[in-house]
């Protein structure tokens, strides 16, 4: 990034005259705004997609009027409505924590966008520890959710916060363990390099390179859905049990931040799955027919559709069953897969 920026500066007479620090700062602001805008667009389109998909699954129409055709402007209208709504803070709430909580959740999701490669070299921050950064930052969200649940001073919200804490922290372990397999196999934490190593047809994708990675991909996908609090693991916001869980007391823009973060999170987990397991921006054939970013978005969007499909089909697990799935099944399975993968690499590649 810095090198690229230096190259741009060297090539432009205008920028050469300006102080280097200011240019860096402006570039930083520009790219953060780009990320925010991109995230907002993605989240809004996902909300619209979810409405349409759920409507079709349930033999309804979904939004049809707003924006002329297909109700495409429905979520934009909803976002505007949320912006203009009164920003309520319950009298007995902890004002500071109540306000900070949605920001933390939103930021933790937003920051992960910096390290997601949308194509070869199309990345905001090419970190050597890209995947590690994403895991670390996205686990900050749980702090925001507990804060929100606690600060609302509502017993149902507190339940939501408690459930979120136990669930998200538990499921981080299988997520990390299943990703470690890919990291071992690729020998890198850099998402660009992991992506580049999967070029040349779908049999080069990590998912199909080893039976252990194949199963690991499913473990990751399941655990990631649980970490993102989606059905069948949406216990922190189980509306039929906890009314709406940790975000019961939120309204207006604060609620919108939670909402945006949830849908952006959908994209993040699908994007990571695409990069780590599904060949990133490469086509499934040895020839790259379409540009890389399009392949990448197609993969990520299909995974998002799968997640939505599951949400509108399955019932919800119970708390103890949720923990059982994690500690009794996913974690042991991913550990066994790791050992298997290590053995495979030692036997076949001698690493």
């Amino acid at each position: 990034m810095k090198e690229w920026l230096d190259g741009v500066i060297a090539g432009s007479a205008l920028l050469q005259g300006a102080p280097r620090e200011i240019t860096y700062f402006l570039a930083m602001v520009f790219f953060s705004l780009l990320a925010v805008g991109w995230m907002a667009i993605l989240a809004l389109s996902f909300v619209w997609m979810e409405r349409k998909i759920s409507a079709r699954i349930q033999s309804r129409l979904g939004p049809v009027y707003c924006g002329g055709k297909f109700g495409w402007a429905q979520t934009v209208a909803d976002a505007l409505k949320l912006l203009m709504k009164e920003d309520l803070i319950p009298r007995s709430a902890d004002r500071l924590l109540f306000t900070v909580a949605p920001v933390i959740v939103f930021l933790s999701t937003l920051l992960t966008f910096a390290a997601i490669p949308f194509g070869d070299n199309l990345i905001i921050a090419n970190l050597d520890i890209g995947i590690f950064f994403i895991l670390a930052i996205s686990s900050l969200a749980v702090i925001g959710i507990i804060m929100g649940g606690w600060a609302s001073n509502n017993k149902w919200s507190l339940y939501g916060g408690m459930r979120a804490a136990s669930q998200m922290i538990s499921y981080e372990i299988p997520v990390a363990l299943s990703l470690i397999g890919v990291i071992m196999y690729s020998g890198s934490l850099n998402l660009l390099e992991i992506g580049r190593a999967q070029a040349g047809g779908f049999w080069h994708w990590n998912l199909f390179r080893s039976p252990f990675l194949f199963l690991g991909g499913f473990v990751y996908f399941t655990a990631a859905i649980a970490e993102a609090n989606r059905t069948p693991f949406d216990l922190p916001e189980a509306e039929s049990e906890l009314v709406s869980g940790f975000n019961t007391e939120y309204s207006g823009m604060k609620f919108a931040l939670f909402f945006l973060a949830e849908f952006a999170n959908l994209f993040v987990i699908s994007a990571i799955a695409s990069v780590m397991f599904l060949g990133a921006w490469h086509s499934f054939l040895p020839w790259q027919i379409l540009p890389g970013p399009i392949w990448f978005l197609m993969k990520a969007f299909s995974l998002v559709v799968v997640i939505m499909w599951m949400r509108w089909t399955l019932p919800r697990l119970r708390v103890d069953q949720l923990m059982q799935v994690c500690w009794k099944y996913l974690i042991p399975i991913s550990l066994v897969l790791l050992v298997g993968l290590g053995t495979q690499m030692w036997v076949f590649s001698g690493r």
Partner: protein, 381 residues
């Protein structure tokens, strides 16, 4: 030093939390309030509070004349208004000694069984919704909508019908309406299989419901539970068979009972599944009725204009979708009835809630309330 070495468990003392579930809560099926004492996710104590929907039904009934009570019965169990009508008109007819023409009886049974399907569909959908699966609710209401359309054709109303009259019905069913019932049955029967595929045998659904909230047969009998909830506990008690009214003694149908296929007899899954099986039986009954329905009068032409039953008292019970609905009617020979007491199946079923929710998880409590399938309009009346 020794003081510092207290058992850890003492430091980890957790407070019990008193929490009010309802009256505004998505899963209490109306305005039920449950006062829960919880220890984390575990429910230690449940106290149901009712009365938020009390509308003095029984007192009103004393002021409006015998026919005027019928619309009030609609509003008790609003998901089974036809069945409520049915029970009440039978009560008055028994006191009057009034015969109902053959065709009238058939139409009554057709309507009652359609209503039973509609009611079980609502139970199925809301139960799935309680467990976090939203889609079955929409499917159930899509089918229920068709039944509502048939009712609308028959009497103009979609929820509170006021269709039954003392001595018969307020209107006849035309051949088009009977054809609509027939085409609904053809449409509906394959859907039941779809529901089973979507929900009944879903792994997560079974995990959530099997072995949860078990009501043993003895407990069910002690608490006076009736209807599908009693049959789920393993006995085949059904008023339509054990104390037949109307023309049910002429119709062939099985009475499904809970067999504990996935967990124990009388668990949430059994209660749910008995309703699913009962819908199949309803379809069978309806097909027989459609085949046998005779031509003729739909209301007894000898029904008096002013209904004034003789002095006396009578108790009639009918099989509602939610259990045994009883009407105890006392008449003192005046144009208004003297006293009407309703034996509500939902009210008695709600009573068992504290007994089966000891030490369950919060999510199980939601499943148990959903599987009991109560309608607060009837609990409070």
């Amino acid at each position: 030093m020794a003081q510092d070495m207290k058992p850890i468990a003492q430091d980890l003392h957790t407070e019990e939390m008193l929490i009010s579930m309802g009256p505004q809560h998505p899963s209490t099926h109306g305005v039920l309030r449950l006062e829960l004492t919880t220890d984390g996710e575990v429910v230690r104590n449940v106290r149901p509070f009712i009365g938020y929907l009390h509308r003095c039904f029984e007192k009103h009934a004393e002021k409006v004349g015998f026919t005027g009570v019928i619309p009030y019965t609609d509003r008790m169990d609003y998901l089974a208004a036809m069945n409520n009508n049915h029970g009440y008109v039978i009560t008055v007819e028994k006191l009057l000694g009034l015969e109902v023409p053959e065709r009238g009886e058939y139409i009554r049974v057709i309507m009652a069984e359609l209503q039973r399907i509609a009611s079980h569909l609502a139970a199925f959908g809301t139960f799935a919704n309680d467990l976090g699966a939203v889609t079955p609710l929409l499917y159930a209401f899509r089918e229920r909508e068709k039944i509502m359309d048939i009712f609308e054709m028959a009497c103009g109303a979609r929820l509170t019908y006021n269709y039954y009259r003392i001595g018969g019905l307020s209107g006849d069913l035309t051949p088009e309406m009977l054809a609509a019932v027939r085409s609904f049955l053809d449409y509906f029967e394959p859907k039941l299989k779809e529901y089973d595929d979507l929900l009944s045998y879903n792994k997560i659904f079974i995990e959530r419901t099997a072995g949860v909230g078990v009501i043993p047969l003895a407990m069910a009998a002690n608490y006076g539970i009736t209807g599908p909830n009693l049959r789920a506990s393993g006995t085949s008690w059904d008023i339509r068979r054990n104390d037949p009214y109307s023309i049910y003694d002429r119709l062939e149908f099985d009475i499904p009972t809970g067999r504990g296929l996935k967990g124990e007899v009388g668990d949430c899954w059994d209660r749910y599944m008995v309703r699913m099986w009962e819908m199949r039986e309803c379809v069978r009954i309806l097909r027989q009725c459609l085949a046998q329905i005779p031509e003729g009068e739909y209301i007894n032409p000898k029904t008096p204009k002013a209904i004034r039953p003789p002095k006396g008292e009578v108790y009639v019970r009918v099989e509602n979708p939610r259990g045994e609905l009883g009407y105890y009617l006392v008449s003192d020979g005046k144009p208004n009835l003297y006293r009407l007491k309703v034996r509500s199946p939902c009210f008695t079923q709600l009573g068992v809630l504290p007994a089966i929710t000891d030490g369950v998880m919060l999510a199980d409590l939601v499943a148990i309330v959903g599987s009991l399938d109560i309608v607060l309009g009837e609990v409070d009346r």
